[in-house]
């Protein structure tokens, strides 16, 4: 059954995530990025940032629960076995640092069908504790047709 377009515009409860220094390190090691700004607190402290910072792609960690708000939406009922991540775009505005508290809002921007597949366009906006926009995410998920 196609994904119902009546869910266009649906917004999810904001997600708050406190960025941990060790979590940044774990993520940096997982992607093999050994930039000392991410993994060496002594080095990072002496940098212009004054503390450990998160790699830009760490956005996927603090927006993870926003994404799962969509995946686990019992009304939309996305068929997880047919779900594919189609495209991804991030616009970065501000560096995220260890101990930042990041609040992410999310919204379904569009739902449409193409070639028997359902496309879901999802948007996230993440703000730090000073209410500064740090990153916007534009997510395209595809539910493959049967």
């Amino acid at each position: 059954m196609p994904v119902d377009t009546k869910f266009i515009g649906r917004e999810y409860k904001p997600i708050t995530y406190v960025v941990g220094q060790e979590k940044i390190k774990e993520y940096a090691l997982a992607i093999g990025d050994l930039n000392p700004l991410y993994i060496d607190p002594g080095f990072a402290k002496k940098s212009k940032y004054g503390t450990v910072i998160a790699p830009p792609m760490f956005v996927v960690v603090f927006t993870r629960d926003a994404m799962f708000s969509l995946f686990e939406d019992n009304e939309i009922k996305i068929d997880f076995a047919r779900l594919v991540h189609g495209e991804q775009e991030f616009n970065f505005h501000k560096i995220v640092k260890a101990n930042d508290s990041i609040k992410t809002t999310s919204k379904i921007k569009n739902i449409y069908q193409k070639n028997n597949n359902d496309f879901i366009k999802f948007e996230t906006k993440s703000y730090n504790q000073d209410s500064e926009l740090v990153v916007e995410g534009f997510w395209t998920f595809i539910v493959r047709g049967k």
Partner: protein
Amino acid sequence: MAYKINQEITPFQIEVDKYRPCYYAGASGDFNPIHIDNDFAKAVGLGGVILHGLCTMAYVYRAVMNNKDPEKLKKIKARFKGMVRPNDKLTVSGKVTAIENNLATIDLLATNQKNEHIITNACAAIEI
């Protein structure tokens, strides 16, 4: 560094080790069984576990930003075209296609050892 139109980035190569999807699942919180359970991945027709697309996208990020100030990255985008499996060897290549408004745009492509396209329609915008 100064960017020039049509300048190619140094190709970035990485071999995806056998346990990478497990490490990435733990770090990202994405434990979809298609990434960590070979039997499950086979049962749903994938032939075996595949790496998270966002992990490959992080490699694209590394290709353009290695040892640069992360603050310079303003945008990155990618289309997930092909699947990555453990032991695959990936190459990310790219070329500067525009320089305007203090931003260099680099178009990017990730391929595997069989020259299959993994990430296409990708680009990064970097402050110069």
